[in-house]
Symmetry: C2
Subunit: 188 residues, 2 copies
């Protein structure tokens, strides 16, 4: 998994072999089976995850037992319940595998050590955080302005592979539409 | 305005006088009258703004001429159309004053120089970006799960002063509810 992580980081900051060795020391790796949980609502969140292979869903189960999809994460994506991770509070969301998944795990302590020990990594994480913030701003805008059809088109254009890998019921939940609406959109 | 900016940054990283002098060199300041635009949809976005005094709305005007509120920004907040700012593309949103407003302005070039020249500032911006990402994740969750009443309660609890300063029509737009729904909520 080292190669994927290095390649991913080097898209933003080039690293020497020594620097990458230092980076790699701060990660652990883990494999999960389909349906396994990396984070459970109500429990602590020890890691942020870099997805090497597989697919995850970040979900929120409301009091009535209905499940809402906050986001998906696949290869080359970082995911966590960031509020719980950064503030060391209990998770308000769960992170669950939709496929067998391999991840690199970074604890908050190691995240801080990595940023303090190597400015390139602070720079890397700043770029990723800004990109995440932009993506969220765009998604908020789409909730405010776009109808179901437009949200569907935006998602299809941005992440075509999701439509091969994710069950329709989950796509509908992510888009905030009913399964029936989604089926109608896919036929049109 | 120097004092407010310094105090704001020092909530996260302490700075020496020399360090703050270096920081301050990278900013310009500006004053705007109520209703003035800092950013206009379709134009370029030269700055990110730190609000020293006043109140702004980040808005999106859709094709039918309807205005949507993406966020508010008041004292101690940073705001911009970050996608346009970081990627040097045209604004998809506008930023407009709801009150007379004073801001510190940071160009992308200066943002980069500041981060490269002083790791403390890269650390500061990483903390702010993570906080922004967390707030967006929370807002997405509230769109997916909360009804109008709950979104209203969450906003009231988090930013009570907004209710004194922002017209009801705009609060309704921010919450994604009708003005009538909001009036009903405020009476209950």
């Amino acid at each position: 998994m080292q190669e994927q992580l290095r390649e991913h980081i080097e898209k933003i900051v080039p690293l020497t072999d020594d620097e990458f060795a230092f980076v790699w020391e701060h990660f652990t790796t883990e494999q999960y089976k389909k349906r396994a949980f990396l984070i459970r609502q109500g429990e602590s969140v020890p890691h942020a995850y870099f997805v090497v292979a597989g697919l995850l869903k970040l979900i929120y189960d409301d009091e009535s037992g209905r499940q809402h999809i906050v986001s998906f994460a696949m290869e080359d994506w970082w995911e966590s319940d960031y509020q719980a991770y950064f503030t060391r509070t209990k998770a308000t969301m769960s992170l669950q595998c939709l496929e067998n998944t391999r991840v690199c795990c970074l604890s908050l302590e190691n995240y801080r050590q990595l940023c303090a020990g190597l400015q390139k990594m602070e720079h890397f994480f700043l770029q990723k955080a800004n990109a995440g913030h932009i993506a969220s701003q765009r998604r908020i805008l789409s909730f405010l302005t776009a109808n179901a059809n437009e949200r569907y088109e935006q998602l299809l254009k941005r992440y075509p592979s999701l439509f091969q890998r994710v069950p329709k019921t989950l796509l509908a939940s992510y888009l905030g539409v009913s399964r029936e609406t989604l089926s109608r959109l896919r036929r049109s």
